[in-house]
Symmetry: C2
Subunit: 194 residues, 2 copies
């Protein structure tokens, strides 16, 4: 698992193109992983993000207890994992209370938060929840500051994605519904921008 | 300009894969268009969305005055337009106070809101702002309910995108930074989902 630090003011670029994410969370020896397509950057510097975490989820309980989480950015090679962890609750006996163990998913510790980084991803944002209880209670909406960010340097370097340099199974994923994904496609550079 | 109504509980699927959007707004005879990559679904039914609109923008003024906006989902054929309208303020004399006129962009009226629908796009979400002043003031974050939704039936039908049926220039776009986009790529169907 190779990762390189991403400068915090450029961390938004890990999410700017709208990839699906996996939210990892942990508290007091328990941990979980859920799929989240409803996430976006909220600010550049310090970087902030917004993510929807349903009140029924085990992840919600762990985020509330720890005040933090990690947004993992998975790649095409992990599409079946994204769907699997998104289809099974961490409270479900089938997942034995630990989806990482149930699905055989490797991790490494994060630098700033309790939640682990999922191995095999291409980007990671370590996040601390901003206290905005009204949004959480009314909309299941969490706002958070990104306190550390990492990427696989084979596909993200110098603040940019470089999917064309790596095998297609390292491209990021965009989720639609019901098991349907798109991969991140062809790059376009439009002239005239600064 | 061909469009078909999208059932409101499926309107989130126009945004779920994370495409860049163009926000149109209008009030009292003035109108504007800006690029927004920081947008996401917030709820299914009634559908809600979240979008970041900077306080410095003319769009912000029009949204505040009208309480509504449209999220237009542009396609690859419009990438230069996305960049152009994102690089020029509606307050700038260069854009003559009307980016639609300045860039020669055709529109048609929306059904429920003052803001127009941008011709040539592949999806449209007509949105009414939910009154959440704290989020607007502190984070430039707007939450809104989707009150009508439309799509080009050549690429979105039966609640799903079907980019493979149409020319590649009708694929949606994902924005990175500085003129760099990705198109929505290859579709993947992972088995085992309901």
């Amino acid at each position: 698992m190779t990762l390189a630090a991403v400068d915090l003011p450029r961390a938004y670029r890990l999410l700017n193109h709208g990839p699906v994410t996996l939210v990892s969370s942990a508290h007091a020896g328990r941990r979980n992983l859920m799929a989240a397509a409803w996430t976006m950057p909220l600010d550049f510097d310090p970087p902030k993000v917004a993510v929807v975490v349903d009140r029924s989820t085990f992840t919600r309980e762990l985020i509330a207890a720890s005040g933090s989480f990690v947004l993992n950015v998975p790649c095409r090679a992990q599409a079946a994992t994204v769907l699997a962890v998104g289809s099974c609750s961490g409270r479900d006996p089938e997942c034995r209370g630990d989806k990482f163990a149930h699905f055989g998913l490797a991790t490494r510790p994060a630098a700033q938060v309790e939640a682990p980084l999922l191995a095999g991803c291409v980007g990671w944002l370590e996040c601390r929840v901003l206290p905005e209880a009204h949004n959480e209670l009314r909309y299941d909406l969490f706002l958070a500051e990104v306190v550390a960010a990492w990427a696989d340097p084979a596909v993200f370097a110098d603040g940019r994605w470089h999917f064309e340099r790596a095998p297609d199974d390292r491209r990021t994923l965009h989720y639609v519904a019901g098991g349907a994904f798109y991969t991140t496609g062809e790059g376009l550079e439009i002239g005239g921008a600064e």
